[in-house]
Amino acid sequence: MTISRPTTRNARFVAAVIVAAGLALSACGSSKNTATTTATTAPVKAEVAVTDAWVRQSPAATTLGAAYLTLTSSVDDQLVAASVPTTVAAKTELHETVVATTDTTKMGSSTTMMRSGSTMMGGSGEMKMQPVSSIDLPAGQAVALKPGGYHIMMIDLVKPLTVGEEITITLTFAGAGTQEVTAAVRES
Protein backbone atom coordinates (compact mmCIF):
# COMPACT_ATOMS: atom_id res chain seq x y z
CA MET A 1 0.00 0.00 0.00
CA THR A 2 1.53 3.29 -1.07
CA ILE A 3 0.19 6.75 -0.79
CA SER A 4 0.72 8.52 -4.06
CA ARG A 5 3.30 11.31 -4.03
CA PRO A 6 2.78 13.42 -0.98
CA THR A 7 3.67 16.92 -2.11
CA THR A 8 4.85 18.24 1.22
CA ARG A 9 6.57 16.88 4.25
CA ASN A 10 3.39 17.57 6.12
CA ALA A 11 1.37 15.43 3.79
CA ARG A 12 3.90 12.64 4.09
CA PHE A 13 3.65 12.81 7.85
CA VAL A 14 -0.15 12.73 7.72
CA ALA A 15 -0.02 9.83 5.31
CA ALA A 16 2.30 7.94 7.60
CA VAL A 17 -0.03 8.54 10.52
CA ILE A 18 -2.97 7.27 8.51
CA VAL A 19 -1.10 4.16 7.49
CA ALA A 20 0.07 3.58 11.03
CA ALA A 21 -3.37 4.21 12.46
CA GLY A 22 -4.98 1.63 10.29
CA LEU A 23 -4.93 0.73 6.65
CA ALA A 24 -8.61 -0.04 6.61
CA LEU A 25 -9.68 3.56 6.55
CA SER A 26 -7.41 4.60 3.73
CA ALA A 27 -8.39 1.57 1.69
CA CYS A 28 -12.05 2.42 1.76
CA GLY A 29 -13.93 3.31 -1.36
CA SER A 30 -15.05 6.53 0.25
CA SER A 31 -11.49 7.72 0.69
CA LYS A 32 -10.89 10.42 -1.88
CA ASN A 33 -7.21 10.04 -2.67
CA THR A 34 -6.67 6.41 -3.41
CA ALA A 35 -9.68 5.69 -5.54
CA THR A 36 -9.10 8.40 -8.09
CA THR A 37 -5.55 7.35 -8.84
CA THR A 38 -5.46 6.06 -12.38
CA ALA A 39 -4.16 2.60 -12.97
CA THR A 40 -1.83 3.50 -15.79
CA THR A 41 1.14 4.25 -13.56
CA ALA A 42 0.64 1.28 -11.28
CA PRO A 43 3.17 -1.51 -11.43
CA VAL A 44 0.47 -4.18 -11.24
CA LYS A 45 -1.39 -4.93 -14.44
CA ALA A 46 -4.85 -3.40 -14.38
CA GLU A 47 -7.31 -6.25 -14.42
CA VAL A 48 -10.84 -6.47 -13.16
CA ALA A 49 -12.43 -9.74 -12.11
CA VAL A 50 -16.17 -9.78 -12.70
CA THR A 51 -18.34 -12.20 -10.75
CA ASP A 52 -22.00 -12.75 -9.93
CA ALA A 53 -23.29 -10.92 -12.98
CA TRP A 54 -27.04 -11.11 -13.36
CA VAL A 55 -29.93 -9.19 -14.81
CA ARG A 56 -33.33 -8.93 -13.23
CA GLN A 57 -36.24 -10.21 -15.25
CA SER A 58 -38.13 -7.09 -16.29
CA PRO A 59 -41.62 -6.85 -14.84
CA ALA A 60 -44.47 -6.66 -17.33
CA ALA A 61 -45.30 -3.23 -18.74
CA THR A 62 -41.90 -1.78 -17.92
CA THR A 63 -39.06 -0.68 -20.16
CA LEU A 64 -36.33 -0.40 -17.55
CA GLY A 65 -33.92 -3.11 -16.52
CA ALA A 66 -31.21 -3.50 -13.94
CA ALA A 67 -28.00 -5.50 -14.01
CA TYR A 68 -25.87 -6.37 -11.01
CA LEU A 69 -22.36 -7.73 -10.65
CA THR A 70 -19.32 -7.70 -8.41
CA LEU A 71 -16.03 -6.15 -9.52
CA THR A 72 -12.60 -6.71 -8.04
CA SER A 73 -9.81 -4.70 -9.57
CA SER A 74 -6.15 -5.53 -9.23
CA VAL A 75 -5.30 -1.84 -8.96
CA ASP A 76 -7.20 1.29 -8.04
CA ASP A 77 -9.55 1.81 -10.95
CA GLN A 78 -12.98 3.08 -11.81
CA LEU A 79 -15.94 1.69 -13.69
CA VAL A 80 -16.85 4.60 -15.95
CA ALA A 81 -19.46 3.12 -18.27
CA ALA A 82 -21.51 0.07 -19.09
CA SER A 83 -23.42 -0.70 -22.24
CA VAL A 84 -25.59 -3.38 -23.74
CA PRO A 85 -26.33 -4.02 -27.42
CA THR A 86 -28.94 -1.73 -28.94
CA THR A 87 -30.98 -4.85 -29.60
CA VAL A 88 -31.46 -5.01 -25.82
CA ALA A 89 -31.85 -1.41 -24.70
CA ALA A 90 -31.45 2.04 -26.20
CA LYS A 91 -29.35 3.37 -23.39
CA THR A 92 -27.38 2.15 -20.40
CA GLU A 93 -26.36 4.16 -17.37
CA LEU A 94 -24.59 3.62 -14.07
CA HIS A 95 -26.94 4.35 -11.21
CA GLU A 96 -26.91 4.37 -7.47
CA THR A 97 -29.80 4.06 -5.07
CA VAL A 98 -29.32 6.50 -2.23
CA VAL A 99 -31.18 7.84 0.74
CA ALA A 100 -32.80 11.04 -0.48
CA THR A 101 -34.08 12.57 2.71
CA THR A 102 -34.20 11.89 6.38
CA ASP A 103 -37.26 13.50 7.82
CA THR A 104 -36.55 13.58 11.52
CA THR A 105 -40.03 14.83 12.31
CA LYS A 106 -41.38 11.47 11.25
CA MET A 107 -38.93 9.24 13.00
CA GLY A 108 -41.38 8.27 15.69
CA SER A 109 -40.24 5.82 18.29
CA SER A 110 -38.17 3.39 16.36
CA THR A 111 -38.17 3.85 12.65
CA THR A 112 -34.61 4.07 11.47
CA MET A 113 -32.34 1.11 11.42
CA MET A 114 -29.56 -0.36 9.40
CA ARG A 115 -28.40 -3.88 9.53
CA SER A 116 -24.86 -4.41 8.54
CA GLY A 117 -23.84 -6.98 6.01
CA SER A 118 -26.53 -5.96 3.58
CA THR A 119 -28.21 -2.85 2.40
CA MET A 120 -31.17 -2.32 4.62
CA MET A 121 -32.89 0.94 5.31
CA GLY A 122 -35.99 1.44 7.32
CA GLY A 123 -38.10 4.31 8.43
CA SER A 124 -39.51 7.18 6.53
CA GLY A 125 -36.36 8.33 4.78
CA GLU A 126 -36.99 8.50 1.07
CA MET A 127 -34.75 6.61 -1.29
CA LYS A 128 -34.09 7.40 -4.91
CA MET A 129 -31.75 6.43 -7.65
CA GLN A 130 -29.44 8.77 -9.40
CA PRO A 131 -26.96 8.49 -12.25
CA VAL A 132 -23.31 8.31 -11.30
CA SER A 133 -20.41 9.10 -13.62
CA SER A 134 -18.15 6.44 -12.18
CA ILE A 135 -17.84 3.81 -9.50
CA ASP A 136 -14.59 3.61 -7.56
CA LEU A 137 -12.84 0.26 -7.50
CA PRO A 138 -10.15 0.29 -4.82
CA ALA A 139 -7.39 -2.23 -5.47
CA GLY A 140 -8.19 -5.72 -4.33
CA GLN A 141 -11.55 -4.84 -2.92
CA ALA A 142 -14.74 -6.48 -4.15
CA VAL A 143 -17.26 -3.81 -5.06
CA ALA A 144 -20.76 -5.19 -5.38
CA LEU A 145 -23.33 -3.61 -7.63
CA LYS A 146 -26.40 -4.96 -5.89
CA PRO A 147 -30.04 -4.17 -5.17
CA GLY A 148 -30.34 -1.03 -3.10
CA GLY A 149 -26.92 0.24 -4.15
CA TYR A 150 -25.09 0.61 -7.42
CA HIS A 151 -26.63 -0.92 -10.49
CA ILE A 152 -26.39 -0.84 -14.24
CA MET A 153 -29.64 0.56 -15.55
CA MET A 154 -30.90 -0.34 -18.98
CA ILE A 155 -33.27 2.26 -20.36
CA ASP A 156 -35.88 1.76 -23.08
CA LEU A 157 -35.68 -1.99 -23.31
CA VAL A 158 -36.36 -3.19 -26.84
CA LYS A 159 -38.18 -6.24 -25.46
CA PRO A 160 -38.78 -7.70 -22.01
CA LEU A 161 -35.86 -9.39 -20.29
CA THR A 162 -36.93 -12.96 -19.69
CA VAL A 163 -35.47 -15.67 -17.51
CA GLY A 164 -33.00 -17.85 -19.39
CA GLU A 165 -31.76 -15.07 -21.64
CA GLU A 166 -28.16 -13.96 -21.52
CA ILE A 167 -27.19 -10.34 -21.89
CA THR A 168 -23.76 -9.18 -22.97
CA ILE A 169 -22.65 -6.15 -20.99
CA THR A 170 -19.61 -4.15 -22.03
CA LEU A 171 -17.87 -2.58 -19.06
CA THR A 172 -15.48 0.31 -19.51
CA PHE A 173 -12.87 0.98 -16.88
CA ALA A 174 -10.69 4.06 -16.53
CA GLY A 175 -7.54 1.98 -16.39
CA ALA A 176 -8.34 -1.55 -17.49
CA GLY A 177 -10.05 -0.72 -20.75
CA THR A 178 -13.18 -2.53 -21.80
CA GLN A 179 -14.36 -5.96 -20.87
CA GLU A 180 -17.38 -7.96 -21.91
CA VAL A 181 -19.35 -9.98 -19.42
CA THR A 182 -22.30 -12.29 -19.92
CA ALA A 183 -25.13 -11.93 -17.44
CA ALA A 184 -28.02 -14.36 -17.15
CA VAL A 185 -31.53 -13.04 -16.64
CA ARG A 186 -32.99 -14.26 -13.36
CA GLU A 187 -36.15 -13.67 -11.38
CA SER A 188 -34.19 -12.22 -8.49
Binding site: Q57, A60, L64, H95, S109
Partner: protein, 236 residues
Protein backbone atom coordinates in the same frame (compact mmCIF):
# COMPACT_ATOMS: atom_id res chain seq x y z
CA UNK B 1 -39.41 -4.68 37.84
CA UNK B 2 -40.60 -8.23 38.30
CA UNK B 3 -43.93 -7.30 36.81
CA UNK B 4 -42.53 -5.83 33.67
CA UNK B 5 -44.06 -7.53 30.71
CA UNK B 6 -41.30 -8.96 28.53
CA UNK B 7 -42.68 -7.98 25.17
CA UNK B 8 -43.28 -4.42 26.23
CA UNK B 9 -39.75 -4.20 27.51
CA UNK B 10 -38.40 -5.54 24.28
CA UNK B 11 -40.30 -2.84 22.44
CA UNK B 12 -38.98 -0.09 24.61
CA UNK B 13 -35.42 -1.12 23.98
CA UNK B 14 -35.76 -0.97 20.23
CA UNK B 15 -35.09 2.75 19.73
CA UNK B 16 -31.90 2.62 21.72
CA UNK B 17 -30.78 -0.58 20.10
CA UNK B 18 -31.61 0.76 16.65
CA UNK B 19 -29.55 3.85 17.38
CA UNK B 20 -26.67 1.74 18.59
CA UNK B 21 -26.97 -0.55 15.60
CA UNK B 22 -26.96 2.45 13.29
CA UNK B 23 -23.90 3.84 14.97
CA UNK B 24 -22.10 0.53 14.90
CA UNK B 25 -23.01 0.03 11.26
CA UNK B 26 -21.70 3.48 10.40
CA UNK B 27 -18.47 2.88 12.27
CA UNK B 28 -18.09 -0.51 10.68
CA UNK B 29 -18.66 1.07 7.31
CA UNK B 30 -16.01 3.69 7.93
CA UNK B 31 -13.36 1.29 9.10
CA UNK B 32 -14.06 -1.85 7.15
CA UNK B 33 -15.79 -0.56 4.05
CA UNK B 34 -19.05 -2.06 5.20
CA UNK B 35 -17.91 -5.60 4.69
CA UNK B 36 -19.16 -8.49 6.78
CA UNK B 37 -20.02 -7.24 10.21
CA UNK B 38 -22.66 -9.84 10.80
CA UNK B 39 -22.04 -9.98 14.52
CA UNK B 40 -24.01 -6.76 14.86
CA UNK B 41 -26.86 -7.80 12.68
CA UNK B 42 -29.33 -8.98 15.26
CA UNK B 43 -29.15 -6.32 17.93
CA UNK B 44 -32.17 -4.42 16.69
CA UNK B 45 -34.27 -7.38 15.68
CA UNK B 46 -35.93 -10.48 17.01
CA UNK B 47 -38.28 -9.21 19.63
CA UNK B 48 -39.56 -11.87 21.96
CA UNK B 49 -42.66 -12.54 19.89
CA UNK B 50 -40.47 -13.70 17.01
CA UNK B 51 -41.03 -10.71 14.74
CA UNK B 52 -37.88 -9.57 12.94
CA UNK B 53 -39.15 -6.31 11.48
CA UNK B 54 -39.79 -3.05 13.29
CA UNK B 55 -42.64 -2.85 15.77
CA UNK B 56 -43.77 0.31 17.43
CA UNK B 57 -44.94 0.66 20.98
CA UNK B 58 -48.04 2.26 19.54
CA UNK B 59 -48.65 0.80 16.08
CA UNK B 60 -49.70 3.23 13.38
CA UNK B 61 -53.43 3.26 12.76
CA UNK B 62 -54.06 3.31 9.01
CA UNK B 63 -57.65 2.10 9.15
CA UNK B 64 -58.96 5.49 8.00
CA UNK B 65 -56.93 5.40 4.79
CA UNK B 66 -58.90 4.74 1.65
CA UNK B 67 -57.59 4.83 -1.91
CA UNK B 68 -59.10 4.09 -5.31
CA UNK B 69 -58.56 0.46 -6.29
CA UNK B 70 -57.77 0.24 -10.00
CA UNK B 71 -57.22 -3.50 -9.96
CA UNK B 72 -58.88 -5.30 -12.84
CA UNK B 73 -62.19 -6.63 -11.59
CA UNK B 74 -62.05 -4.71 -8.30
CA UNK B 75 -65.36 -3.61 -6.87
CA UNK B 76 -66.20 0.01 -7.55
CA UNK B 77 -65.37 1.23 -4.08
CA UNK B 78 -62.24 2.54 -2.40
CA UNK B 79 -59.77 0.14 -0.86
CA UNK B 80 -59.50 0.37 2.92
CA UNK B 81 -56.21 -0.33 4.69
CA UNK B 82 -57.38 -3.29 6.71
CA UNK B 83 -56.69 -6.96 6.21
CA UNK B 84 -59.67 -9.22 5.73
CA UNK B 85 -60.42 -11.43 8.76
CA UNK B 86 -57.67 -13.98 9.29
CA UNK B 87 -55.40 -12.36 6.71
CA UNK B 88 -52.51 -9.93 6.68
CA UNK B 89 -52.17 -6.97 4.34
CA UNK B 90 -48.75 -6.18 2.84
CA UNK B 91 -48.54 -2.54 1.74
CA UNK B 92 -45.83 -0.91 -0.36
CA UNK B 93 -45.58 2.59 -1.81
CA UNK B 94 -43.68 2.51 -5.09
CA UNK B 95 -43.74 3.13 -8.81
CA UNK B 96 -43.22 1.00 -11.88
CA UNK B 97 -40.41 3.06 -13.46
CA UNK B 98 -38.28 1.81 -10.61
CA UNK B 99 -35.67 -0.70 -11.72
CA UNK B 100 -34.06 -1.38 -8.37
CA UNK B 101 -35.95 -0.98 -5.09
CA UNK B 102 -39.52 -1.84 -6.10
CA UNK B 103 -38.81 -5.00 -8.10
CA UNK B 104 -36.35 -6.12 -5.44
CA UNK B 105 -38.98 -5.80 -2.73
CA UNK B 106 -41.72 -7.41 -4.80
CA UNK B 107 -39.44 -10.24 -5.91
CA UNK B 108 -38.47 -10.84 -2.29
CA UNK B 109 -42.15 -10.85 -1.34
CA UNK B 110 -42.78 -13.42 -4.05
CA UNK B 111 -40.02 -15.59 -2.59
CA UNK B 112 -41.38 -15.13 0.92
CA UNK B 113 -44.86 -16.16 -0.18
CA UNK B 114 -43.44 -19.20 -1.95
CA UNK B 115 -41.75 -20.16 1.31
CA UNK B 116 -45.02 -19.83 3.20
CA UNK B 117 -46.69 -22.29 0.86
CA UNK B 118 -49.94 -21.84 -1.03
CA UNK B 119 -52.28 -22.04 1.97
CA UNK B 120 -50.62 -19.34 4.02
CA UNK B 121 -49.70 -17.28 0.96
CA UNK B 122 -53.39 -17.12 0.07
CA UNK B 123 -53.89 -15.29 3.36
CA UNK B 124 -51.47 -12.55 2.35
CA UNK B 125 -53.14 -9.58 0.69
CA UNK B 126 -50.90 -7.23 -1.23
CA UNK B 127 -51.54 -3.55 -1.92
CA UNK B 128 -49.19 -1.50 -4.08
CA UNK B 129 -49.77 2.25 -3.89
CA UNK B 130 -48.27 4.13 -6.80
CA UNK B 131 -46.48 7.34 -5.87
CA UNK B 132 -46.19 8.20 -9.57
CA UNK B 133 -49.85 8.14 -10.69
CA UNK B 134 -49.25 10.26 -13.78
CA UNK B 135 -47.18 7.52 -15.39
CA UNK B 136 -48.56 4.51 -13.52
CA UNK B 137 -51.94 4.00 -15.11
CA UNK B 138 -54.12 1.01 -14.31
CA UNK B 139 -53.03 -0.48 -17.65
CA UNK B 140 -49.44 -0.50 -16.45
CA UNK B 141 -49.99 -1.28 -12.76
CA UNK B 142 -52.06 -4.40 -13.26
CA UNK B 143 -49.70 -6.39 -15.47
CA UNK B 144 -46.72 -5.07 -13.51
CA UNK B 145 -48.02 -6.40 -10.22
CA UNK B 146 -49.22 -9.63 -11.79
CA UNK B 147 -45.68 -10.41 -12.83
CA UNK B 148 -44.81 -10.70 -9.13
CA UNK B 149 -47.88 -11.89 -7.24
CA UNK B 150 -51.40 -12.75 -8.18
CA UNK B 151 -54.32 -10.79 -6.82
CA UNK B 152 -52.37 -7.72 -5.74
CA UNK B 153 -54.37 -4.53 -5.35
CA UNK B 154 -53.23 -1.65 -7.52
CA UNK B 155 -54.03 1.55 -5.66
CA UNK B 156 -53.86 4.82 -7.54
CA UNK B 157 -55.12 8.29 -6.84
CA UNK B 158 -54.50 11.32 -9.03
CA UNK B 159 -55.35 13.59 -6.09
CA UNK B 160 -52.02 14.55 -4.52
CA UNK B 161 -53.71 15.41 -1.22
CA UNK B 162 -55.24 11.95 -1.00
CA UNK B 163 -51.91 10.28 -1.69
CA UNK B 164 -50.21 12.53 0.86
CA UNK B 165 -52.82 11.68 3.49
CA UNK B 166 -52.30 7.97 2.88
CA UNK B 167 -48.53 8.33 3.12
CA UNK B 168 -48.82 10.42 6.27
CA UNK B 169 -50.78 7.68 7.99
CA UNK B 170 -47.89 5.28 7.33
CA UNK B 171 -45.30 8.00 8.10
CA UNK B 172 -44.13 7.50 4.53
CA UNK B 173 -43.47 10.10 1.88
CA UNK B 174 -42.57 10.51 -1.76
CA UNK B 175 -41.43 13.18 -4.16
CA UNK B 176 -41.80 13.26 -7.93
CA UNK B 177 -39.64 15.81 -9.71
CA UNK B 178 -39.43 16.46 -13.43
CA UNK B 179 -35.97 17.72 -14.20
CA UNK B 180 -35.04 20.23 -16.88
CA UNK B 181 -34.05 17.50 -19.33
CA UNK B 182 -37.47 15.91 -18.99
CA UNK B 183 -36.42 12.96 -16.89
CA UNK B 184 -38.61 12.20 -13.93
CA UNK B 185 -36.96 11.57 -10.61
CA UNK B 186 -38.93 9.76 -7.94
CA UNK B 187 -37.88 9.33 -4.36
CA UNK B 188 -39.98 7.35 -1.96
CA UNK B 189 -40.03 5.53 1.32
CA UNK B 190 -38.98 1.97 0.57
CA UNK B 191 -40.41 0.34 3.66
CA UNK B 192 -43.06 -2.37 3.45
CA UNK B 193 -45.87 -2.53 5.99
CA UNK B 194 -47.84 -5.42 7.43
CA UNK B 195 -51.34 -4.34 8.41
CA UNK B 196 -53.71 -6.40 10.51
CA UNK B 197 -57.49 -6.60 10.29
CA UNK B 198 -57.85 -3.66 12.67
CA UNK B 199 -55.93 -1.45 10.29
CA UNK B 200 -52.87 -1.36 12.50
CA UNK B 201 -49.34 -1.47 11.09
CA UNK B 202 -48.07 -4.35 13.18
CA UNK B 203 -44.70 -4.70 11.43
CA UNK B 204 -42.60 -2.33 9.34
CA UNK B 205 -40.19 -4.13 7.05
CA UNK B 206 -37.12 -2.12 5.97
CA UNK B 207 -35.81 -2.33 2.46
CA UNK B 208 -33.23 -5.07 2.19
CA UNK B 209 -35.03 -7.51 4.46
CA UNK B 210 -34.41 -11.05 3.29
CA UNK B 211 -37.26 -13.18 1.94
CA UNK B 212 -36.68 -15.50 4.92
CA UNK B 213 -37.27 -12.70 7.40
CA UNK B 214 -40.28 -11.49 5.44
CA UNK B 215 -41.77 -14.98 5.46
CA UNK B 216 -41.09 -15.24 9.18
CA UNK B 217 -42.95 -12.02 9.94
CA UNK B 218 -45.84 -12.80 7.61
CA UNK B 219 -46.23 -16.18 9.30
CA UNK B 220 -46.11 -14.67 12.76
CA UNK B 221 -48.69 -12.02 11.96
CA UNK B 222 -50.94 -14.61 10.34
CA UNK B 223 -50.63 -16.82 13.42
CA UNK B 224 -51.58 -13.84 15.57
CA UNK B 225 -54.54 -13.05 13.35
CA UNK B 226 -55.97 -16.53 13.51
CA UNK B 227 -55.47 -17.17 17.21
CA UNK B 228 -55.42 -14.19 19.51
CA UNK B 229 -54.72 -10.70 18.31
CA UNK B 230 -51.02 -9.99 17.95
CA UNK B 231 -51.57 -6.50 19.11
CA UNK B 232 -53.92 -5.45 21.88
CA UNK B 233 -54.95 -1.81 21.60
CA UNK B 234 -54.17 0.19 24.70
CA UNK B 235 -57.36 2.20 24.21
CA UNK B 236 -60.07 -0.36 23.50
Amino acid sequence: MANREPRARAHHTIPALAAIALLVAMLAGATACGSSTSSQSTSSSASENGILGIQRDNPLDVSAVTLPDVTVGAPDKPFTMKADPGKVLFVYFGYTHCPDLCPTTLADLRKAMAQLGPTAAAQVQVAFVTVDPQRDTAEILNPYLASFVTGAHALRTVDPAQLRAAEDAFLASSTVTTKSDGTVEVSHTATSYLVDNNGRVVVEIPFGTTPDAMANDLAHVLAGQTTSSLYTPTNP
